[in-house]
Subunit: 373 residues, 2 copies
């Protein structure tokens, strides 16, 4: 079987995009197809197009949206590496920027002058996002010079806005009702966390309360991944993310540390001063240190920053205003909250970049045939 | 710029194949194109189609051969990860099996019944190889059930034969004139090595002489990589692989340990008994532990096995005959030497498998524009 697909880089992620007309609508059949196409029963994804890391083993299915005022629907898939399964419960902002560029480049939305707006509905979470794609000269561009923290590679500029992001998954910005609360992990002293649903459901640990800084190296984060996983699993039921009897997974909630700004060196070797940003953030992606931060997590951090007493506003020295600058391992990412009402942001925007890497026809083995494992 | 290419899995390698008509013939321009297409200035190859590991950052340029009795010419490229350069000095047997399948599937050679022979010339080394591709029913197959050690994934069966492999790079099977000799690395006691040119130039270390076993785990090999690199660099000038004033590189000679057979567990978790194979082999690929063994290295080990006094025949308990079974981390690989004359094999054959993964059109950024680094 041959399935058309396009490989895009959205920010610091690589993602294969499939048009809905070429793949099954039924989720089980789609999962089998993706696992077979990626070679995903194998930890190195040798027998397929997967990239064998969390940020390069992603997919999305794209279609024209039947919704009014919405251009594109997309379903995001975090293709498990070596698990033979797919996580369907989260969104990916990086991939959304790739979807916006793809929609313009493949003619799914008409170009409207120097910038073209693509309104997208994420089918995993119900989130509505806008991609504002650089179409300078009234044409689609394959290449561009916009960069994002974490890579020196240029791409086409895409402004990504999350519309009314609060409570999309759980129904509430603060699913436990608290801006911050103590959480006990094993026999250790309780830690202070904020559990927030905006962009994605996220549990943010006050680094100081856990004898950490929020400015850990990727190496330190790797060592801390098992502990952060137990924090995720403790938070999941409190946030209402588990069906009765269900075991916690590795995709939701997102989990990470926040702390005060301190001087540090990015993974590209650039020095960052404490006054260059407002808050230190170190996240996991699945069970590995995130090289920067997932954009949906950045939305949650920014939304929490607006709230008095959250672990974010504590570390930032008080509730934040329109702009929040996040210090991540890859560098500083600025997030803008606007259209505020009752402490909730109506719009959260980040400047990003995307690039088409390849148009392909993937040879997909018959699902279920023996694969690497 | 858009460049057509096909991603193949050959055995345990992934390799993008380009037809010569679509890429520059001049090596410098070709190198720039591959580095840009793979995003190879960046250690994670984020902004391109590279796989960011030595076995998934390979390419080959394929064309019809002008030589009589030869079907296909191919030039192999080991695309450096994070270096922004390409190693042109070695061949890759896994990729050759992919080239043979591609040649049949894309109609570059006519199908001749249930098996189709593809005679290939490797332009890096001058090696001539035959791929015997399964074309059961007189048709090309996209999928198959043949497996190779190191993966459970099935592919199309390809028998790969190296024709007259001795001395292709240096002019001599034994470029130093010795079947085995002592080599001094730093201040330590000398080690016993065989320096052999067959399939590829390879320096094989007698594991016992270096207080090792030849059956090391990948973890142990990772720790030993810097030491093995010094062995490679010491052997390179002795084998005549350096031009005057040139620094040793990381591609040639191949380097590894050989030792007696012992019981061990493969990386797929299968138990192997000492009587199931003839010799333990642990190789590096570039500066990382090879998950199995490069086929060109397997040819060198088998050719050395035929020679009295080589480190291979010492570990095997005497010179080997037609078949040699190599115990690698991924499992046992059987190599057949035939058409022997004067202790040199006229043909060396391994049973392999290959699969087409994707046909693509790669968006290649203008070479030299800023990329990830």
């Amino acid at each position: 079987m041959h399935t058309p697909a396009t490989l895009v880089r959205g920010g610091t992620s690589k993602c294969w995009l499939f048009h809905q007309v070429h793949v099954p609508t039924e989720l089980g059949a789609l999962e089998k197809l993706l696992v077979a196409a990626y070679g995903a029963t194998d930890p190195v994804e040798l027998d397929g197009v997967g990239g064998a890391t969390p940020t390069t083993s992603k997919a999305a299915v794209v279609s024209a949206s039947p919704e009014p005022d919405t251009d594109i629907d997309y379903l995001f898939a975090q293709v498990g590496i070596g698990t033979g399964s797919v996580e369907w419960t989260s969104n990916c902002g990086n991939c959304a920027t790739g979807v916006a560029l793809y929609a313009v480049a493949k003619g799914l939305v008409p170009i409207t002058g120097d910038r073209t707006r693509v309104v997208m509905r994420n089918m995993n979470t119900g989130a509505v996002l806008e991609g504002l794609v650089d179409t300078t000269g009234g044409v689609a561009h394959d290449f561009g010079d916009q960069t994002v923290p974490g890579t020196r590679a240029g791409g086409v500029a895409v402004g990504l806005t999350f519309r009314d992001p609060a409570g999309r998954t759980t129904g509430s910005l603060l699913p436990t009702g608290s801006t911050a609360q103590e959480l006990r992990i094993g026999a250790a002293d309780p830690i202070l966390v904020s559990m927030v649903d905006a962009g994605a459901p996220v549990v943010l640990v006050d680094a100081t309360s856990a004898a950490r800084t929020g400015a850990e190296t990727l190496e330190q984060m790797r060592a801390d991944a098992p502990w952060l996983r137990t924090v995720r699993h403790a938070a999941a039921p409190l946030m209402g993310l588990l069906k009765p009897g269900e075991e916690p997974g590795d995709a939701v909630p997102k989990v990470g540390l926040v702390g005060r700004p301190v001087p540090y060196t990015t993974t590209l070797g650039e020095r960052v001063a404490a006054q260059d940003y407002d808050i230190s953030v170190r996240m996991l992606t699945m069970n590995a240190p995130h090289p920067a931060i997932g954009l949906t997590s950045a939305v949650a951090v920014a939304a929490a920053g607006l709230l008095e007493g959250s672990v974010v506003s504590r570390a930032a020295g008080g509730p934040t205003e329109e702009w929040l600058r996040l210090g991540t391992p890859a560098g500083v990412i600025a997030v803008r909250c606007s259209d505020l009402s009752d402490g909730r942001p109506g719009r959260v925007t980040v400047q990003r970049a995307a690039r088409l890497l390849a148009d392909a026809r993937i040879y997909v083995p018959e699902p279920g045939r023996p694969q690497a494992a």
